[in-house]
Amino acid sequence: MTKSWAARGAVLLALCLGTASPAAAQVRRMTPETAPPQIDPATIPMPELSFTPTPQIEENYDKYYYFNRAGTDFMTAYADLRECDGYARGLAYRTAYVPYYAPGLLTSAVGGAIGSAVADAIFGSAERRRQRRINMLTCMRFKEYRVFGLPENLWERFNFEEGMRQVPEDERQRFLRIQARVASGPAPTVGEVRP
């Protein structure tokens, strides 16, 4: 067994043995969110999306991708991306798209904070970034968006990764609005990533 897997086992053991913690101590505070304002998509610049695929670029499509769905208006795409972003960062809208969400409970209780520190020491920022990618894709695929790969240098102009550091809300929303512009824009012709 490698050290990495042994350490993962130890964390798993910590999680398994402590499952009877009182629920009342487990919950982090919630922050309700206001509904997004109406936005004219014409005010949002369309980023550069054209490129010629190469094997090297295609290799990283699982990291650098964007969404598009035919017949989708900007505000719908923005709402969808906000909802999926909520799930991806350990928040989530409640039901029926009401903008009310509960943060993930990663650092609330004392035990949780210790556990978080241990988990973060092992899995680190890279694991959190990967989890975000997986949740965004899962959520947007359920919404039947198509997924298209991009070279990293084009992707980073309107996307963000989130590991240990939380992306400031203003910056996050600015990126999500551009992503919504792309998601509701013309259908791309290259780089589709099939499920």
Binding site: T19, V27, V118, T138
Partner: protein
Amino acid sequence: MRFWTIFATALLVALVQFAATAEARNQFNQTEAITIDPQKAYFFFRANDRRELQFVREVTPEQLATWRAARAQALARAVQSYELAARRYRDEVEYCRDRPQPCIVLERPTPVTDANFAYPPPEADNFVSVERGPQFTRVGDDTTYLVAVPPGSYVFYGPLIRNGAQAAGFCMCMGSLRFTARAGQIVDLGEIRFPDQDVLNARASRPDAPRTATAEIRPYAPGMTRPDRLAGLPVVAAEWRAADKMPNYFGVLIDRHPAVAGVLRYERDRVIDDRTGSDPVPLAPLDGR
């Protein structure tokens, strides 16, 4: 060195938490006699593997009333704290008016209102864990579980292990199933099927992995047998309904329960109660207040 520090810390956390949270288990083992407590409800289900599961109970009107009162009190305290902080901030701004900058060290506090007040949701205390063990019966990987729980309407939250605020696994955050567990009855959920570990590993590590369900409930059917120890006890088959989207309370990977004919279906990501064709009933009032 780093490895051993991590390993030792994880073990220490495990042991401390295990000692601190030792409480009566509600999960029956393979030898316990079953006495039905008329104040409690019971889940029974079969599983093709041993995995920890989470269920969450619907918020009752009484619980909601208590929660509203507690929230109102907490809000009043938070508003008072904000007003105190705002006064200190104003005083500091006044003090620094004619002094060289930087002088102001306090951050301008954010007003606390009913709309932006941060508070746990009413269902936060309603989680029920079914752990890997003890099992009610076990033959190889095929196991059954019997668990005593508070009566109520439950939603299958997903296959995830949880330790206080820590969790790992998948939540059925984008659609699930619910059922009612009545006092004095054992409700038979049917069988919970899990995919192979390879599938779960892929879903947990590769963004492009196929969206194979991470858990699937197969409602009770007459072909499913029950252990002899349940003979003569009040066992009823679960009546399944669709459950709407839920928050990712623990910040885990997300999934949804596969469609179940006549119970649960989806229009894209919209959850549909297939009995009525409408949206499912939420776990708690939508605005939580």
